[in-house]
């Protein structure tokens, strides 16, 4: 029997994906299907004076036109957020279709439902909406100004919450006493998630059985069902609702959240008693999928004369967009402030975050969610401190690392790191990149006028989200455990049920590897079931690099129950005491004898219990729920080298080395794929991506003609190295790998570019580091202020 754990098994799901046979929500066609087109606001901020739907209703093929008021009148409530940051957090209503006012370009105002898609779109142009345009605010800092337009009626400012973590006084005292303080002001720009599959939803109400099925491109179908039934549509009984998330083409966080279109399709289907489908056009995705990042921060890092970090003080203004999306309040707070210790022993840290409403698309979790923002800030300010102190950036990091014998380590920002070996990962990465040789090459190149640079990013993340009681105390409105089920069929074939959801992660392979390994059966005898609330026990879905650490642990618990029961049955059949029976490679054996019974025979016995142990129930079908004891803490060091073309400002990444410690690895090929994709996404933010609005709130980057995604030819071949420090508190010793690449790579690339240009007087260039920004910095010199004047990307205003 092959050892499946640790084996680079090819992904079983890829056959259907690469042959074009995946089944995504938009592929589903139901009898009597109708099509929804949503009329969206072209204003960033406007009062709705009147809506005339009569012309649209008169179009041949149109079944209905509904407005936000129609839904409210029918008992549809506001979509809540899933997290409360403090008692004073403002939570203005978020109706599935706007009522009274529109709050961002793309806000839904009405829905047209027709017998075909083109007719729905034609008729949508006939919905006449009279607006009273209002002044809009785009930039979060500007939104805090006393005379700023107020996004939401009923609020007296745009401040959603004012949150802090850490000991302010101790931090201030330590900062005042520091030998050197490095100050860094930064913009972590807004980005668009851009999953390759646009969001899609189908509501299918069956009036005979009074049951609703909602198909939706979601990362967490149970959460959608809960939010829909418990909050948005209280008349909808949860036990009469099935939510199915079939194949989903990427999420990156953006498909966690409960979106208006899910409510609209579900509700309209009941009204019309026909299935209603909506699929986003790509241009709709740009203005409706929750965006990511969008912070403006000031960081101050205090160091003593020897280069020991003594204090970190951070002030951040986080743009939340027009509404509070499902995870939005948690991202710039508990997933950000808690990570500001990084890998370092900084004893005093204080962070203040102001969450702010603006007339922009809501901002929520995007691959890494808070942790990339924290890592970018910490790793950039550490890099700058090294430069200002004339210290080698690798050595400044090494000097301040938490040491292996200091774990478990309590940070000043509320986390307890369970394990780590930061110096090991740094040393391995330095060796892989050939640090000393590169510094010589860099010096030589500089003499010829060539600009080479090297950048570091030593990151940590808290994932495996999350211990329910901890997050509950922090304001989460849900638990964050996971479910796992093992159903052994009479023939010994096994179905595995997981409450996590795979939308690119390869769960159907990784989880099957675990089960095949533990039960000693062939991989093809295991089927992983996910994404259907009617088949899978209540689970929390996939985000926060949680699936293996939490969902995999639940499956391990269920496997334990199956093996315990199977051992009882085997012992009975073998006429031996239970403790004398061992389970090896799929066979139960009486220790020290050749008396055996195979797993398949035990399974059959469980369902044909003619000769059966007393007091044991028939069947072999076990469920488990697993609530983690702590977060998991993957870490590592990434190093890249770049060359900057002084004529054009183009940055080329020469090499990229990633040494990640994600704990034990089930499938190294899948982990490497995750690291590769993650790095590409982080590089995208560093060099290419940025959602740009003009000052009136019109998005300027609404298509791939203007929004730059990283492409294969923008990237080098990544050199990936692993270190394994198993997680001490889950049964698999795993931590999570889905976000590590993104968390690390953005700072790594920016650090490398600044390293290439620092001798020219450049200490920062705002992201994305477009050619024009780099060129302007080079020609203006100094602090990149000239670069910030360049168009192309950036935060908020163009």
């Amino acid at each position: 029997m092959p050892n499946f754990i640790g084996s680079p098994v090819k992904r079983v799901e890829d056959k259907r994906f690469i042959t074009g046979k995946g089944r995504y929500t938009d592929d589903i066609v139901l009898p009597g299907m109708t099509y929804a087109c949503i009329v969206r606001s072209e204003h960033a901020h406007a009062r709705i004076k009147a809506i005339d739907t009569s012309a649209a209703e008169a179009v041949d093929g149109v079944l209905a036109v509904f407005t936000g008021q129609d839904m409210v009148d029918d008992g549809i409530l506001s979509i809540p957020t899933g997290w409360a940051v403090g008692d004073a957090m403002k939570e203005p209503p978020h109706y599935p279709l706007a009522v009274g006012k529109v709050h961002h370009v793309g806000d839904g105002v009405a829905v047209v439902i027709a017998t075909d898609k083109a007719t729905a779109q034609d008729a949508a142009e006939q919905v006449m909406i009279e607006y009273e345009p209002l002044p809009a605010v785009v930039d979060a800092t500007a939104a805090l100004a006393p005379d700023a337009p107020i996004v939401h009626d009923g609020l007296d400012s745009n401040l959603c919450f004012d949150w802090e973590l850490g000991d302010r006084d101790a931090t201030d005292r330590a900062m005042a006493a520091a030998h050197h303080v490095t100050t860094y002001e930064l913009v972590n720009q807004r980005v668009v998630p851009n999953a390759i599959e646009p969001r899609s939803a189908i509501g299918h109400y069956d009036p005979a059985r009074e049951e609703l099925t909602l198909y939706t491109s979601s990362q967490n179908p149970h959460l959608i069902r809960l939010l829909l039934c418990a909050f948005v549509w209280p008349d909808l009984p949860e036990h009469k609702v099935r939510v199915v998330s079939p194949d989903v083409g990427g999420g990156f966080g953006s498909k966690i959240f409960h979106y208006p279109e899910e409510v609209i399709c579900a509700w309209a289907s009941k009204k019309l008693e026909r299935p209603v489908k909506w699929t986003a056009a790509r241009s709709e995705s740009f203005v409706t999928d929750a965006h990511g990042r969008d912070h403006v921060s000031t960081a101050e890092l205090g160091l003593d004369a020897e280069g020991n970090m003594v204090a970190l003080r951070v002030k951040t203004v986080a743009n939340l967009g027009a509404y509070l999306s499902t995870f939005a309040p948690a991202v710039p707070t508990y997933l950000y402030g808690t990570l500001l210790a990084g890998q370092y022993r900084t004893p005093h840290i204080h962070v203040n975050v102001k969450g702010v409403f603006t007339n922009t698309v809501p901002v929520d979790a995007y691959r890494g969610a808070g942790r990339p923002e924290a890592t970018f800030l910490v790793e950039r300010v550490v890099e700058l401190a090294a430069k200002e102190l004339g210290m080698d950036p690798a050595e400044l990091r090494r000097k301040n690392f938490i040491r292996p014998d200091e774990f478990p380590y309590d940070t000043p920002v509320a986390l307890q790191y369970d394990s780590g070996n930061y110096e090991g990962a740094l040393d391995k990465a330095l060796e892989m990149i050939g640090y000393e040789d590169f510094r010589r090459e860099q010096a030589e190149a500089r003499k010829q006028g060539r600009l080479l640079g090297i950048g570091f990013s030593s990151y940590i993340e808290a994932c495996g989200i999350a211990p329910s009681q901890v997050v509950g105390a922090l304001g989460a409105r849900a638990g964050l455990y996971e479910s796992g089920g093992i159903r052994v069929h009479p023939t010994g074939k096994v179905e595995v049920f997981t409450g996590t959801h795979s939308h690119g992660q390869g769960h159907e392979t990784t989880f099957a590897q675990i089960v095949a390994h533990e039960l000693g059966i062939p991989l093809e005898n295991v089927e992983v079931v996910h994404g259907d609330t009617s088949r899978v026990p209540f689970g929390m879905g996939t985000y926060g690099s949680r699936s293996l650490a939490v969902g995999g642990s639940a499956i391990m618990r269920a496997l334990d129950k199956v093996k315990d029961k199977a051992r009882k049955i085997a012992a009975h059949k073998l006429e031996a005491a239970e403790e004398d029976v061992e389970f090896v490679d799929g066979t139960f054996r009486v220790k020290g004898t050749d008396r055996t019974i195979g797993f398949g025979d035990v399974a059959l016995t469980a369902y044909v219990p003619h000769d059966y142990p007393e007091g044991v129930e028939p069947g072999l079908d076990e469920n488990a729920f697993y609530d983690p004891k702590n977060f998991t803490f993957p870490f590592g060091t990434h190093i890249c080298t770049v060359e900057v073309d002084p004529d054009t400002g183009v940055v080329r990444i020469l090499r990229y080395v990633a040494v990640d410690d994600v704990g034990n690895i089930i499938n190294p090929m899948i982990v490497e794929g995750q690291i590769h994709g993650g790095i590409a996404q982080g590089v995208g933010q560093a060099l290419f991506e940025g959602a740009v609005y003009d000052e009136t709130g019109q998005p300027l980057t609404g298509s791939y003609m203007d929004y730059t995604m990283p492409r294969a030819d923008d990237l080098p071949s990544f050199e990936v190295g692993h270190q394994v420090t198993p997680c001490p508190h889950n049964p698999l010793g795993v931590k999570g790998a889905g976000e590590a690449g993104t968390i690390a790579s953005t700072a790594c690339v920016v650090n490398a570019v600044v390293d290439a240009l620092y001798h020219r007087g450049i200490r920062d260039i705002p992201m994305p580091l477009t050619p024009e920004r780099v060129w302007r910095a080079l020609h203006a010199g100094g602090d990149g202020a000239a670069a910030a004047a360049a168009p192309a990307g950036g935060n908020g205003q163009a």
């Binding site: 898609k117 779109q121 004529d647 003609m705 203007d706 050619p771 024009e772 360049a790 168009p791 192309a792």
Partner: protein, 287 residues
């Protein structure tokens, strides 16, 4: 996104296409590769009532050598231009430019005639046809006429092509002894269209530039010749210093586009950089 409703006709001949075109009073559009037209229709930016599909007219998809000219049929795909032995032999710069258009899917569908007729200010071919002194052959029911590339581009998305005409052929003089051409492109990282693309053709004799043609796309509302640069190069050896001096001030930022992919000031700078690179390579090839 769905287009507005439209009719579709697949033309079996140039005559049939032109008859349909003439019969629809400016409401019909020719469909070749469709890589500009269809996206614009799906975004509902344009709404022709009839699409006349000419993509099956194989006679217009050939590259031939016609005396001293390459004759490239209007329906020759970018991929066919890129891989044509005749183009690679007689005008490699054109093949190289074709290889840099869009991505393989675009190159397999998009055509040289479609691109020229569309006259996107950021397309690559306009710089090439200007620098290479090409002629554009246009056909209508009244017959065939030819205009030089210099007279073809009128404004952004506007050309000398009349509503009832279609481009049938592009004729490009083959490079002779002592001649070289090159194209240097600074691609928009998002769209891979040219932020600035400069095509250059030089004729050398005894190490001296007899004549040069330099054309720029992407930078301005329409592709243009850098005639001042051309004049400054004539009669001089193409050294680094001469090129640097000649390209200085190539474009006036006040006349250039300014958008997210580059301000006018940056575009003006890129014009100089790309012109330098194109001229350097063209001179090396001519030598």
């Amino acid at each position: 996104m769905s287009t507005y409703a439209f009719d579709y006709a697949r033309a079996q001949s140039v005559d049939e296409a032109l008859t349909l075109l003439a019969g629809h009073d400016g409401e019909a559009r020719l469909l070749a590769g469709g890589h500009s037209l269809i996206p614009a229709m799906k975004l509902r930016l344009t709404a022709p009532t009839l699409l006349i599909d000419v993509s099956g007219l194989e006679d217009l998809a050939a590259v031939t050598l016609d005396g001293g000219h390459l004759a490239i049929g209007a329906l020759t795909t970018h991929r066919a231009v890129e891989t044509s032995e005749l183009v690679r032999t007689h005008c490699p710069a054109l093949a190289e430019a074709a290889a840099g258009i869009g991505d393989p899917q675009v190159r397999n569908r998009g055509t040289i005639g479609g691109s020229l007729a569309h006259a996107d200010p950021a397309a690559d071919y306009p710089a090439l046809v200007l620098a290479l002194d090409a002629e554009i052959e246009m056909t209508s029911r009244d017959g065939t006429r030819t205009v030089s590339a210099d007279d073809f581009f009128v404004d952004m998305y506007t050309t000398a092509l009349a509503a009832h005409e279609m481009i049938t052929r592009v004729r490009i003089p083959v490079l002779g002894h002592g001649e070289g051409a090159a194209y240097a492109k600074f691609a928009n990282p998002a769209s891979r269209y040219a932020v600035v693309g400069v095509a250059a053709k030089v004729s050398l004799a005894d190490g001296t530039c007899r004549a040069a043609r330099v054309a720029v796309t992407g930078a301005a509302p329409k592709a243009f010749r850098a005639t001042a640069v051309e004049r400054r190069l004539a009669g001089r050896p193409l050294t680094e210093a001469v090129i640097a001096e000649a390209v200085r001030g190539l474009a006036d930022p006040n006349e250039l586009l300014s958008d997210l992919s580059g301000s006018a000031e940056y575009r003006a700078h890129l014009c100089e950089v790309m012109a330098t690179r194109a001229l350097r390579e063209a001179a090396a090839r001519a030598a």
